[in-house]
């Protein structure tokens, strides 16, 4: 039986069983297992929680804000002698990845990487790698590139925030070098490409990526290691394609684990 069918069949039974074996306080009229709950969501006014601060129509703006928070958290972490920073690491060399050639993506193409990923999926994955490489290279460089030339065409909103992180490291006299296992291990998972990205945008894409960060935060002058803890993070990433160039417009670490854990233990979910 397919998992989807199993869920549709067994979730109602599980709900009833949990209620029956719970506190025994459930005396309300409970629908039969076959019933389908009417789904009708009223969103305004809606109850607000600390996570309900974004709306769909403002995702770009909110994305930039989230990127600011991400970078600020990263800088704070890098300032902390006891904790690992959020940012990636890389070799001192500038990355050689180039922007993928222009591709016009058809409308609403959802592509799940299985055996042969579609070209646009590979483009997006390549661009995500380029983004992480460029970001890590800036953080690793003893003398940061103030123009962030590595980022050109690779990161829309996040670029400006990243510049602050680079500057912060530089002012502290710190940098991040690769660990014994390299700078990081980045795997890209689910990629969803949509043709209609809105005004002046040819296409948009969202993806998830899993990064194991082996970077070592150290004092440039003395070489003293500040933090070499390995951390794993899962990222949600949004990109838009403008004039044939994919740009990262939003990136957020959605989950984090100490060591090589979490998403790193499910490589089949991140095949790219």
């Amino acid at each position: 039986m397919r998992i989807e069918e199993q869920l549709r069949r067994e979730l109602p039974a599980l709900a009833d069983a949990l209620l029956d074996t719970g506190t025994g306080a459930v005396a309300a009229p409970v629908a039969s297992p076959g019933d389908v709950i009417e789904v009708e969501f009223e969103l305004d006014p809606r109850p607000r929680t600390e996570e309900h601060t974004m709306t769909k129509t403002r995702w770009l703006l909110a994305g930039v804000a989230a990127a600011v928070i991400l970078v600020i958290v990263g800088v704070v972490a890098l300032n902390n002698d006891d904790e690992q920073g959020l940012d990636t690491v890389d070799t001192p060399e500038a990355p050689t990845a180039t922007v993928a050639p222009t591709t016009t993506v058809g409308p609403a193409t959802t592509v799940v990487p299985t055996t042969t990923p579609a070209p646009e999926v590979l483009e997006v994955a390549e661009q995500i790698r380029a983004y992480f490489d460029a970001r890590a290279a800036d953080l690793a460089a003893p003398v940061p590139d103030p123009d962030l030339s590595r980022f050109s065409g690779r990161a829309g909103g996040p670029m400006q925030q990243h510049q602050g992180a680079v500057q912060g490291l530089y002012e502290q006299g710190r940098a991040i070098r690769p660990g014994d296992q390299g700078p990081n291990d980045l795997r890209v998972g689910f990629v969803d490409v949509e043709g209609d990205g809105g005004v002046d945008v040819e296409a948009s894409a969202s993806a998830v990526a899993c990064e194991v960060n082996y970077g070592v935060l150290y004092e440039v002058a003395t070489g003293n290691v500040v933090n070499d803890d390995v951390a794993t993070r899962e990222f949600e990433i949004l990109l838009v394609q403008v004039e044939g160039v994919w740009e990262v417009v939003f990136i957020e670490a959605t989950e984090q684990w100490d060591g090589e854990a979490g998403c790193a233990l499910s490589p089949t979910d991140y095949p790219l």
Partner: protein, 164 residues
């Protein structure tokens, strides 16, 4: 919070379209939805009671109280899951009631659900229990529809492994 009574609803709502009707009609389905998300009848009861209390207070201003109720229930479940995650991290304890009375296949299903992240669990329950669309789940989770599809896909993948 104290017990919510249908009589707290504004006067004149005793018919099927009023608060009493909503309470009688939706309490059971909401409990079932909540218990799948939080995994315990006790927590589900609290969430649903709080949600009905919130509806009761805002009854006059709500155009679609049913929708508001469901959104409030899901948000309440998220709060419970978040609190529980923090508690588990500090105490190393597993939450939820004893499940020895459940049939084996349901125990496995419950464990597979518990193994999902908060957002994956909500997306899976909303899709396969409540038949919610990508749009509805995206609004609930405040994310893009593509993210919903990603959450469901990864959630299914994880559950498939657990239940194999």
């Amino acid at each position: 919070m104290g017990e919510v009574s249908p009589h707290q609803a504004p006067a004149g709502d005793a018919d099927a379209s009023g608060f009493d009707g909503l309470f009688a009609r939706e309490r059971g389905p909401m409990l079932r939805l909540a218990v799948l998300m939080v995994g315990s009848a006790e927590s589900a009861e609290d969430v649903v009671q709080d949600a009905f209390a919130s509806v009761s207070v805002r009854w006059e201003e709500l155009e679609r109280p049913g929708g508001y109720l469901r959104t409030t229930v899901v948000n309440g479940c998220r709060m419970v899951l978040r609190r529980r995650e923090v508690e588990d991290r500090h105490e190393g304890a597993l939450s939820g009631p004893a499940v020895s009375a459940l049939p084996t296949h349901l125990v496995e299903l419950r464990e597979a659900l518990t193994g999902l992240s908060e957002r994956q669990r909500i997306a899976i329950v909303m899709r396969y229990f409540a038949d919610a669309s990508d749009v509805e789940i995206a609004e609930l989770l405040d994310c893009r529809q593509s993210t919903v599809r990603s959450l469901i896909r990864r959630g299914l993948s994880s559950m498939r492994k657990e239940l194999a």
